[in-house]
């Protein structure tokens, strides 16, 4: 397998790592809905933490995108 196709497979594998981020985001929003369903007054306080948690989980997925872009940039060399 030559270097060009190996680079493309590497980019696809980096993108496949987003599955974990999808699970994480679904989990955190599911827990938020459950918490608000149990106690609707907690929505203000828990909502703030939900957005911070969502940002941190999504950042991991975006590290994957950055690695894919790095592999794409180094492809010609």
């Amino acid at each position: 397998m030559d270097a060009a196709s190996a680079a493309l497979i590497g980019m696809g594998l980096a993108a496949a790592g987003f599955a974990g981020a999808g699970v994480g985001i679904g989990y955190i929003f599911g827990k938020m809905i459950e918490a608000v369903a149990r106690q609707p007054e907690a929505e203000g306080r828990v909502g703030k933490y939900m957005w911070i948690g969502f940002a941190l989980v999504e950042a991991i997925a975006l590290y994957g995108i950055v690695i894919a872009f790095i592999i794409m940039g180094l492809r010609g060399k």
Binding site: K48, I52, A55, E58, V66
Partner: protein
Amino acid sequence: MESNPLHPFELHPYGTLSLFGIDISLNKAVVMMWVVIALASWLLYRAGRERRLIPTRLQSLAELLVEFIKGMILDTMGEKGLRFFPFIATLFLFILFCNLLGLIPGSYTVTSQIVVTAAFALFVYAMSLVVGFALHGFRFLGILVPGGTPVLLLPLMVPIEIVSQLARPLSLAVRLFANMTAGHTILAVLFGMALSLPLWIGWAPFVFTIAINGLEVMIAVIQAYIFTILTCVYLGDAINLHGHAEGAH
């Protein structure tokens, strides 16, 4: 159609200017930043010019914004954080307007350059370090030791905490940059597909771009909010060492 999906992000200079041998030529990103500054400051100036008791619509929008940011600061930083209110408000408004104005066709998203977001993140992190050292002196280094660890674990915990502290500005920069770049790249790829396919099937990616555009508006606002609230959390960590924010409502 484009072989390089990152084609919309290329910047071409309009002529060349140089100052002491450094290249400061204008390009689309610089002009967009000027537009953002002019628009944001003009809107807020108009909103705050006459302070009526029953506010006009623009004034009530500005009041909503001020209350929102003030609540965010009081939640995370406590009363001592209110002296950072102008900084946090400027940061929030600049990133919000940059993200939103990038969605207009023909304009450029300033925050989709890693240089811009890295400059913001480095500035915010340096500010948290400076404020921490100015307020607490060398005891600020105690932030590297979470409360209640036994002394034997210290040589293991301190390097881990140093790495996690250094990951903060990096993740702050990369999060905003990658969100904006990924959104616009998806739009570019989908439009390319919609144009290169024949009409009887090309309408499907086009409808999808409408939905993704709506998602992009939501992501623009959310990313500005997330950047700002993480800034408040990091500054709050530096101001109250391991303590809880006082004055939280």
